[in-house]
């Protein structure tokens, strides 16, 4: 934004006010103007006294007093009043051409004049300072508006600081200014330096070039400083927000990329398997003999197994990439556990019994049901694999205050103390049970998904042998059934 003269409050905006402004701008003209007005009033009074009584003609001097006090303020108004009183007394109150006053009515006339002159000059000067104040406020408002527009339009704060500094300094009567944002100036430079403080934070300082002689108008300077400091703070805040937004966008783009990549990989890996299993399925009408049928069975079985492994690897990659998104909704835990047991029965039809036990009146919890089912199925599968076939796996769901524990207990070999954490690491397999098939991913995925749903998953030794895995989920406050 270009800086024009009209933005400077010291210069007159309205042409009709320009003469007044010119006079005001130099106080040195005050004695001359006062003297000229007193002289003029004397001449006018002299001209009218033949027709107007001299007691009334004194009013003419008041015009001069009014003029001077409204241009130069109260003190010059008072000086003009005194000068006018003397001139009136000297020229018009009898005896003329002396300062002697004879009649009491003339004393009264003079006293009335002096009183009127005092009141007039006081009123006029007050009107003048009010007008000045209003003009200054309007100028400051324009300045603030132009500051705000500058800051709002700018791409970055640093690029608008020179213009802001310039406008602010000129509004305070300096030739130009610079906003300095390093360290505060030493105290001896304070006269030409305006500290910019916002909420007790030092935002910088305005250094003025060729500052006006004498003291700055402190109230105006304070207002300008406050407005500048506020705008700098606002600009900084805006820059910080934009920066954060850019970072968040970059982050979400990389998350989206990861998710898209994993989805593509999962599609590419699964499609051939899908084709193999469908094609193999089609061969069941081919009139195969028993041996051929056995081979076909192997193809079908192993494609299923491979699909499971790919599923696990993809889930693990998603968890490690932080690309798991949960869609939380209300879950009935009994339903979830029963569905998980159902799923286990489908996967391991000859797997053995699973006993379920539920607290009465379990609360609903929030979570991603397919993910939590995955956790439970993995735990059940693990428990079933390590338990003797005649020992049922025991699932217990208990309310514990503000959380719910879902325990899956087996009669397997149990875990040693130093294994208790390691079994949740990807690819960890118990050295003693290498004979049990598996990839070592099920528990790692279970824990990852549990945590993604604000839950925890831990293992402990079970009394009488075996292990108990416990998935703990929070109960949403105040929404329990």
């Amino acid at each position: 934004m270009a800086l024009t003269q009209s933005d400077r409050p010291a210069a007159g905006r309205r042409p009709e006010a320009s003469l007044l402004r010119t006079l005001e701008s130099s106080r040195a003209t005050a004695p001359a103007v006062a003297a000229a007005l007193v002289l003029l009033s004397t001449l006018v009074t002299a001209l009218v006294t033949p027709t107007v009584p001299y007691e009334a003609a004194g009013v003419i001097y008041l015009v001069g007093v009014l003029g001077v006090s409204s241009i130069y303020g109260l003190w010059w108004g008072l000086v003009t009043s005194v000068a006018s009183a003397l001139a009136y007394n000297f020229f018009f109150l009898p005896p003329a051409h002396t300062l002697v006053i004879n009649s009491s009515s003339d004393w009264a006339a003079l006293a009335a004049f002096v009183l009127t002159a005092l009141v007039t000059s006081n009123l006029a000067s007050r009107a003048r300072s009010e007008r000045d104040e209003a003009a200054r406020r309007a100028a400051e408002a324009r300045l603030s508006e132009s500051f705000a527009t500058l800051v709002a339009d700018a791409d970055d704060l640093a690029s608008v600081l020179p213009t802001l500094a310039s406008q602010a300094a000129r509004s305070l009567g300096a030739t130009d200014g610079v906003i300095h944002r390093g360290t505060p100036s030493p105290p001896e430079r304070r006269g030409a330096v305006l500290p910019l403080v916002f909420n007790d934070r030092w935002m910088g300082e305005l250094r003025m070039i060729e500052p006006p002689q004498g003291a700055l108008d402190t109230a105006a300077a304070e207002r300008v400083a406050r407005s500048l400091a506020g705008l700098i703070a606002l600009g900084e805040e805006r820059e910080r927000r934009i920066h954060q937004q850019v970072q968040a966008e970059a982050l979400s783009r990389s998350d989206e990329l990861k998710t898209a990549l994993l989805r593509a990989v999962s599609h590419d890996l699964r499609s051939p398997l899908m084709a193999i299993s469908t094609a193999a399925g089609g061969l069941r009408y081919a009139g195969l003999d028993d041996e051929d049928r056995e081979l076909l069975e192997t193809i079908t079985e192993q494609t299923g197994r491979m699909n499971g492994m790919i599923e696990n690897l993809l889930d693990l990659s998603k968890l490690q990439a932080g690309a798991v998104s949960t869609r939380a909704d209300w879950i009935d835990l009994r339903e979830l556990v029963e569905a998980s047991a159902d799923e286990l029965a489908r996967r391991m039809p000859e797997g053995g019994a699973v006993d379920l036990e539920f607290d009465a009146d379990l609360p609903l919890v929030r979570g991603d049901a397919p993910q939590l089912q995955r956790v439970l199925v993995n735990l059940l599968e693990n428990a079933r694999k390590f338990s003797p076939p005649d020992q049922p796996v025991q699932v217990t769901v208990r309310r514990r205050g503000s959380r719910v524990d879902l325990s899956v207990a087996d009669r397997g070999p149990g875990v040693t103390e130093d294994e208790a954490e390691r079994i949740f690491e990807p690819f960890y397999r118990s050295p003693e049970r290498r004979d049990v098939p598996g990839s070592g991913l099920g528990l790692a995925i279970a824990r990852g998904l549990a945590e993604a749903n604000s839950g925890t998953l831990a293992v402990e030794r079970r009394d009488g042998g075996g292990s108990t895995f416990t998935l703990t989920l929070p109960v949403p406050a105040g929404r329990a059934r």
């Binding site: 094609a279 209300w330 049901a369 089912q373």
Partner: protein, 228 residues
């Protein structure tokens, strides 16, 4: 084989499309194939199929859009083929008018069973049966009476409506949204708490009367279906 039951297979992957085509043909069906949504819509319009097998992820449209467009004018059942983790797309397609789904990889036996069930239902559609029987369970719709092995099961009106919806679907999956909308009303489509709570109580009552809880199958993340 021409003149038999016609199935339209829509899948963009040639090996899968071909394997399905050959297998279904061997099972006695007349098979048409399409590689994308626009070809599927054209072929379905030229020769209306009796059933559509639709891959959920097509290059030019998603399953929900294709289901909706087909459902506008085609009565034939739509069977979706989806991958694990596509629950959201699956639900949208079911809500848009698809009838059932299979999750990859599936056995051919499973596919053929689903195809047969869907065809059987669409042939016997609008039979207007007043009493639906599922296993030991008998649901008298006009009299709102449910019996399990001859004993009356006392249900609240909401529990009855839930069971009725499931029974009328004849083994097809119903999404949470469908059940909430049909039983409670259009404004309740998101009120999962209601559905979970009442479904739990319905299962409790069925179990008390000797009907296994799993008679109502939980399709985790999708909805429920009544097991035949």
């Amino acid at each position: 084989m021409s003149g038999g039951t016609r199935i339209l297979v829509v899948d963009d992957e040639r090996p899968i499309r071909r394997a399905l085509e050959v297998t279904l043909a061997k099972a006695g069906y007349t098979v048409d194939t399409a590689t994308d949504a626009s070809e599927a819509l054209t072929k379905a319009a030229l020769t209306p199929p009796d059933l559509v097998i639709l891959d959920l992820m097509l290059p030019d449209a998603d399953g929900a859009d294709v289901s909706r467009q087909l459902r506008d004018w085609l009565r034939a059942p739509i069977l979706l083929i989806s991958a694990v983790g596509e629950e959201g797309d699956k639900i949208r397609a079911l809500d848009a008018g698809a009838d059932d789904y299979l999750t990859k990889p599936f056995g051919i036996g499973e596919l053929l069973a689903r195809v047969r069930a869907l065809l059987r239902r669409s042939e016997g559609a609008a039979s207007g049966e007043q009493v639906v029987t599922v296993g030991d369970l008998s649901i008298d719709l006009p009299h709102r009476v449910v019996t399990a092995a001859g004993n009356e099961v006392h249900l609240t009106p909401t529990e009855f409506d839930l069971l009725k919806e499931l029974a009328l679907a004849e083994g097809r999956p119903l999404t949470h949204r469908m059940l909430l909308r049909n039983v409670w009303g259009p404004g309740y489509a998101q009120e999962m708490q209601l559905l979970r709570t009442h479904m739990g109580r319905l299962r409790d009552k069925l179990e008390e009367n000797g009907v296994p809880r799993t008679s109502i199958e939980t399709l985790t993340g999708v909805g429920y279906r009544l097991r035949g």
